[in-house]
């Protein structure tokens, strides 16, 4: 069992028993569900919208080289720079070299999951550069030295009193648990950073090929300030973020908002294509885009898994997932949590270390139902399980069990014998009140669940009796 897998089991056991935590998450997700349900009703045909988004992303991902080159060409025509990074290390080095060569002391960041993926902030902090997260949720988790709990709502696991205590300790001049006042305190603190930072870093929700612009979706306005005020704007984006045409956003923007928060459309949908233009009054002098591969091109080569690259990072599958709601976002120990994280992480960080996440699913398919680009998430979890078995990445006990089961099930007599032994064993354990103890082979289940009484007869025996000896 991998270290990550052991940690996952330990944290999952702890978090799922934490009823306060479950209450907070349930409340947040109930509110999301109500808003997203209302949001979907604004479409005359939500399924047609999902299909359209699937087609847009399919076209982009299946012509990825062409659209990336078109995007690059147009950005360069406007005076921007494009750097292609094969892995996290190359991306970090490019950003660090740029920041140090320009004498950057402070960076304001709007939310970028890629920056979390490549662990950018710690690398820059080591060089003495201050990195300030400006999305309120990200700012809160940064002040707590935590990673985001959820890709859309990073501080979902905290109550207003947690945040009040944090602000009182870290910001000093705040003593309130009133959400508007807490937001105002963060606004005051971050204003100073926006106007003094030399560099702004953002992610990109989309890279629009035919316009050569990045599309950035935010509600707070932090993304707009981070990309308008500092001297340098740097964009971090995965290579899969490209879409063919600006016109595609007419469908994608409302769909992303509905799936992400339930809004009809997010407050600020910004398109940025370069540094300040010759006749423009403001904007950065330099514009850089880092396109990150980091395992994505390998996922692209796997035809059955390729559509995982269609993901628009809305978080709908995370909210729908009963496992996420129970174990919480931090338990995954990954940048991307929930169903999409469980599918993606083994590809980005190795199947040996992270295949256990593919088993952190009841395969109920709720994630697949809500995905706005129609990724068949629970099928991909099964594909990952298959790949893990083929790569001999599963524990020997599990492999032995399945070997024995496979041997028994191939022969009716062996199967009947195995069933009889199991029923007898169960009755003996229950009679001796040993079920759920270390002597119980089904302990993983029975230690927390009352097992039903062992049946007297097998299904085959009952079937034979009712249908005449058949």
């Amino acid at each position: 069992m991998s270290t990550a897998s052991r940690e996952f089991l330990r944290n999952a056991a702890e978090k799922s028993a934490d009823l306060v935590h479950r209450g907070i998450i349930r409340k947040g997700i109930d509110q999301y569900n109500a808003a997203a349900g209302r949001g979907r009703e604004r479409f005359s045909d939500w399924e047609a919208a999902r299909q359209r988004c699937h087609e847009i992303k399919w076209e982009a991902v299946n012509n990825l080289d062409r659209y990336l080159l078109e995007f690059e060409r147009r950005v360069k025509e406007r005076g921007g720079h494009v750097f292609w990074a094969e892995n996290s290390e190359e991306a970090r080095r490019y950003v660090a070299d740029l920041a140090t060569s320009r004498g950057v002391k402070k960076i304001v960041k709007s939310k970028s999951m890629v920056s979390e993926e490549i662990h950018l902030a710690p690398a820059l902090e080591k060089l003495g550069i201050k990195v300030v997260e400006t999305d309120l949720g990200e700012y809160i988790v940064q002040l707590r030295n935590e990673t985001p709990y959820h890709i859309v709502t990073p501080a979902m696991h905290l109550t207003r009193s947690d945040i009040a205590a944090l602000f009182k300790e870290k910001l000093g001049d705040v003593d309130t648990d009133d959400p508007p006042e807490l937001v105002a305190a963060a606004r005051r603190a971050l204003r100073r950073d926006f106007f003094s930072a030399e560099m702004g870093i953002s992610g990109a929700n989309f890279l629009v090929a035919d316009a050569g612009m990045i599309a950035l979706t935010t509600n707070e306005g932090n993304g707009r300030l981070s990309t308008s005020l500092p001297r340098i704007h740097l964009v971090l984006a995965g290579i899969e973020k490209v879409i063919p045409r600006l016109q595609d956003l007419a469908t994608i923007w409302p769909v992303l908002a509905t799936s992400g928060t339930g809004q009809p459309i997010t407050c600020y949908n910004t398109l940025i294509g370069g540094p300040r233009g010759p006749n423009e009054i403001d904007g950065p002098e330099e514009f850089h885009v880092v396109l990150l591969d980091n395992g994505r091109s390998e996922l692209l080569a796997d035809v059955s898994e390729r559509e995982v690259l269609h993901c628009v990072r809305c978080g709908a599958c995370i909210n729908a997932c009963p496992v996420f709601r129970t174990v919480g976002g931090h338990t995954y120990g990954t940048t991307y949590m929930g169903p999409i994280g469980s599918v993606l992480t083994p590809h980005l960080r190795g199947i040996k270390e992270f295949n256990h996440l593919s088993y952190a699913s009841s395969l109920c398919g709720a994630c697949t139902d809500v995905c706005p680009v129609k990724i068949e998430l629970h099928h991909h979890l099964l594909h990952n399980r298959r790949d893990a078995v083929n790569a001999s990445a599963r524990p020997w006990m599990e492999r032995l069990t399945f070997l024995m089961w496979g041997w028994a099930v191939k022969n009716p007599r062996r199967y009947a014998l195995a069933g009889r032994m199991a029923r007898t064993g169960m009755r003996v354990l229950q009679a001796l009140k040993l079920d759920g103890t270390v002597l119980d082979p089904a302990r993983a289940w029975t230690k927390n669940h009352a097992a039903p009484p062992a049946p007297q007869k097998s299904f085959r025996e009952l079937w034979g009796k009712q249908n005449g000896a058949g």
Partner: protein, 217 residues
């Protein structure tokens, strides 16, 4: 900037091309279904969406009346300077408020952090979502985000029914070629990062005011 050696570029492109030699399946859908119902009355829809997304929309008969409406909105604000996009219309309308407020025009540089309000034009208004489309040409990037109040001077001619029409407009006017920056603004800045409770005025404007004239002059 000195060119950075980018050996990874060709390698990534090579891997992508090799990966794409085998085609991926796609999901079948029912073609030809409308995603949104058509917008019947753009002005009515725009006003309703503004109410829903907390944009303050004032409809006026003509530009003169718009100027007075802006003066009324400015009168309620705390003392301090304002930032105004430098256009002939806004210069003309500013006679109604120039004695009360110190005006910084966009031709004089980017807006100050201390501006109490910014006044700009828009490229278009989108009825379907109650949105305002601005570009770098509308007073710059900061003009619609740095101040606590953003006032938009618009006319009913600028209304387009939906997002498809907005993008057609963007393409026909070649806005991406003429601007490094475009933004579709829908309502004022907000956050729900604390217990999913909606709070207005996170980092951007707390109030968005659209003054919409029924006549272009």
């Amino acid at each position: 900037m000195e060119p950075v050696e980018n050996l990874g570029r060709e390698r990534i492109l090579e891997r992508i091309r090799a990966a794409l030699r085998e085609p991926a399946p796609r999901h079948a859908g029912v073609p030809g279904k409308a995603i949104f119902a058509p917008v019947e009355d753009p002005l009515d829809r725009f006003q309703k969406e503004c109410t829903a997304n907390v944009t303050e929309c004032t409809v006026t008969p003509d530009l003169r009346a718009s100027g007075r409406a802006i003066a009324g909105a400015l009168a309620e604000l705390p003392p301090g300077g304002i930032f105004v996009q430098d256009t002939p219309e806004l210069r003309r309308l500013s006679v109604d408020w120039q004695y009360d407020r110190n005006i910084q025009w966009s031709s004089e540089g980017a807006p100050q952090e201390s501006a109490q309000a910014t006044i700009t034009t828009a490229e278009a208004l989108v009825a379907l979502t109650g949105s305002v489309l601005v570009s770098a040409a509308c007073g710059g990037r900061g003009a619609s985000v740095v101040a606590p109040v953003h006032i938009v001077l618009a006319t009913s001619e600028q209304l387009v029914p939906d997002l498809e029409a907005a993008f057609t407009y963007i393409r026909q006017r070649e806005l991406p070629l003429k601007n490094s920056y475009l933004c579709l603004i829908t309502g004022s800045s907000r956050t729900a990062d604390i217990e999913k409770i909606l709070v207005m005025g996170a980092h951007g404007p707390r109030r968005l005011i659209v003054v919409l004239s029924m006549k272009p002059s």
